[in-house]
């Protein structure tokens, strides 16, 4: 079999996150997603002559929060710069961004490393900038239509260090980012709506080598699955090039998820010289130590801290804690029922088991859990009190998940309560014995299997509402064994 030398893939990420402020970064237009074309616009966000930007306070606050949550240093004195380039989705032909003094630097996020253990992904910087508009191809005229609704929606760009070595690490990092930013409420991070987009810088090098290879950039990846495939595809492409005496050219490539390969993007005809310079229309921002401390105190408990607490205080497994804290919704489901007195481990088992199972089965995200969080606790409560058996509980939960019904009512209506009155159970079993004399004889002549049969018959007769132990005990007693 043809044997390849081991290659190492090295990646860094540039993640663009749309902040969930009410208004755009430099004007008071709404940031609401969608809307008829060019209806969320004003002279400022469409770059009319003579207009000026006026900075939205919330953007600076959100960016500061994000920076602190991602363990960054906040730049006390930061300012905006202009990034100049021509493209139809950029009405001023420059993007107001931060190059020289970004608002956050030197942070990091801890993830589960490839092959176990924890690993910190370094964050080089976070800067504030404005989003661009949307281009829509018009087959009728074979022209491009421009909609400026998204123009000026606030973004933070989170630039990581080249610390990724596998697609799993990239995806875990993105999931962690998503969770953190959702926790602190600065973004909804909806990839399908483009409020979280990742550019991947990828290069390969012989395993063990220190020097970086030539990298390519893949832009605007907006689904975890596509990211996984893009990384696999692009690494393979680069390795193949190098193994066949070729060389990687530094370029921007577009991942075509349908064709499952990447294509070099037509360089927009221009020499890529962004001619950055300080934005003269915006004065600098100073963030005081006090403000930073206030903001720090205002942050909720973050996934990492929760994860540790779930393990140390609630005795959850590392894996369960990691999975649950990776989603703001699952944490809410977990903590609400925990507060209602539900035992932590049992709760975690249900979430990791039934909840995850039905979510993936129905292709839903934790954010859109379709039932009242309280229902899960109520259900577990009934199991704990032996009011229903585990198998019944699973059936009931399916109904709860599908119809969002109240589990207690559902159990009553379908009278699924465990029969606890042994007298009643006895009567039923006596009938079973009477009706199965043959098996009784076999059992008495020493055939253990016959007992299993009788238990099964009894359970069926009891419609699963008694627990097997009790039934077995009564049977043995009645059969005088």
């Amino acid at each position: 079999m043809y044997h390849t030398p081991a290659w190492e893939t090295v990646m860094g990420l540039e993640v663009h996150v749309e902040l969930s402020t009410k208004t755009k970064i430099f004007c008071s237009c709404t940031t609401a997603f969608g809307g008829e074309p060019n209806t969320h616009c004003c002279p400022i966000c469409i770059g009319m002559p003579g207009v000026l930007p006026s900075l939205n306070r919330a953007v600076v606050e959100y960016a500061t929060k994000a920076g602190l949550a991602l363990n960054c240093e906040i730049t006390r004195y930061n300012k905006f710069d202009r990034k100049n380039y021509f493209y139809p989705d950029l009405p001023k032909a420059y993007q107001i961004s931060q190059l020289y003094l970004p608002i956050c630097r030197n942070g990091g996020v801890e993830i589960e490393a490839e092959g176990g253990g924890r690993k910190v992904i370094g964050i080089h910087e976070i800067h504030m900038e404005e989003d661009a508009g949307k281009l829509v191809h018009d087959p009728a005229t074979n022209a491009t239509m421009v909609d400026y609704n998204r123009c000026g929606v606030p973004l933070i760009e989170i630039v990581s260090e080249p610390d990724f070595r596998s697609a799993n690490e990239v995806i875990r990092y993105l999931e962690k980012l998503k969770a953190i930013l959702q926790y602190i409420g600065v973004s909804d991070c909806k990839m399908q709506e483009g409020s979280l987009r990742a550019d991947i810088n990828l290069s390969v090098r012989p395993a063990g080598s220190e020097a970086f290879g030539t990298r390519t950039e893949m832009k605007n990846m907006n689904s975890f699955k596509a990211i996984g495939r893009a990384i696999a595809g692009e690494s393979a492409r680069q390795i193949h090039l190098l193994e066949h005496g070729g060389a990687v050219t530094q370029e921007t490539r577009r991942w075509d998820d349908d064709k499952n390969e990447s294509f070099a993007m037509r360089s927009k005809e221009d020499a890529q010289d962004y001619k950055y310079f300080p934005e003269p229309d915006l004065i600098p921002i100073e963030i005081s130590e006090e403000v930073i401390e206030q903001t720090r105190r205002s942050l909720p408990e973050l996934p990492e801290a929760k994860r540790r607490r779930y393990v140390s205080e609630l005795g959850l497994s590392e894996y369960d804690a990691e999975q649950i804290t990776a989603s703001k919704a699952l944490v809410a489901l977990f903590e609400q029922n925990l507060a209602a007195g539900c035992p932590a481990k049992e709760l975690a088992n249900w979430i990791m088991g039934e909840v995850m199972h039905l979510l993936s089965e129905s292709g839903k995200e934790p954010e859109d859990i379709p039932f009242d969080y309280g229902s899960l606790g109520a259900l577990i409560g009934m199991v704990e009190k032996n009011e229903i058996t585990r198998s019944t509980a699973k059936k009931v939960f399916k109904a709860v998940f599908e119809e969002n019904c109240d589990p207690v009512e559902y159990v009553d209506q379908h009278n699924l309560k465990t029969v606890t009155d042994t007298g009643a159970v006895k009567t039923v079993i006596e009938e079973v014995i009477a009706a199965n004399q043959k098996s009784v004889e076999e059992y008495k002549s020493g055939k253990e299997k016959a007992l299993q049969y009788l238990i099964g018959q009894s359970m069926r007769a009891l419609r699963g509402k008694a627990d097997p132990q009790t039934v077995t005990a009564i049977l043995r007693e009645l059969l005088g064994a």
């Binding site: 009410k22 005229t141 003269p280």
Partner: protein
């Protein structure tokens, strides 16, 4: 600093402009002359001087995050040389 013909071409590309052929040579000479003059700035000792972007030492002027009504598309597109419905229209710009 020499203003070569290549540099002129590069600057045209950066600025998305094209000089009329007949005035190109003169434009190159003028730019050369201007740049030579501007280069006298290199004599000035600016060792350790902080660059000054804003003459006045202002900081932290910000707006509250309150939505104001946008303008109707009719106004957004009022000056558009070419439009389709409520979109601006440009030549095909997709690969």
């Amino acid at each position: 600093m020499m203003i070569t013909d290549e540099l002129v071409t590069y600057l045209e590309a950066l600025g998305r402009i094209r000089l009329p052929e007949e005035s190109r040579a003169k434009a190159q000479r003028d730019l050369q002359e201007i740049l030579q003059y501007i280069d006298t700035l290199s004599e000035l000792d600016t060792e350790g001087i902080e660059p000054l972007s804003h003459a006045l030492p202002l900081t932290n002027v910000m707006r509250e995050d309150e939505v104001q009504p946008s303008i109707p598309p009719e106004e957004v597109l009022a000056n558009a040389p070419v439009r389709k419905d409520n979109y601006f229209l440009v030549p095909r710009s997709f690969e």
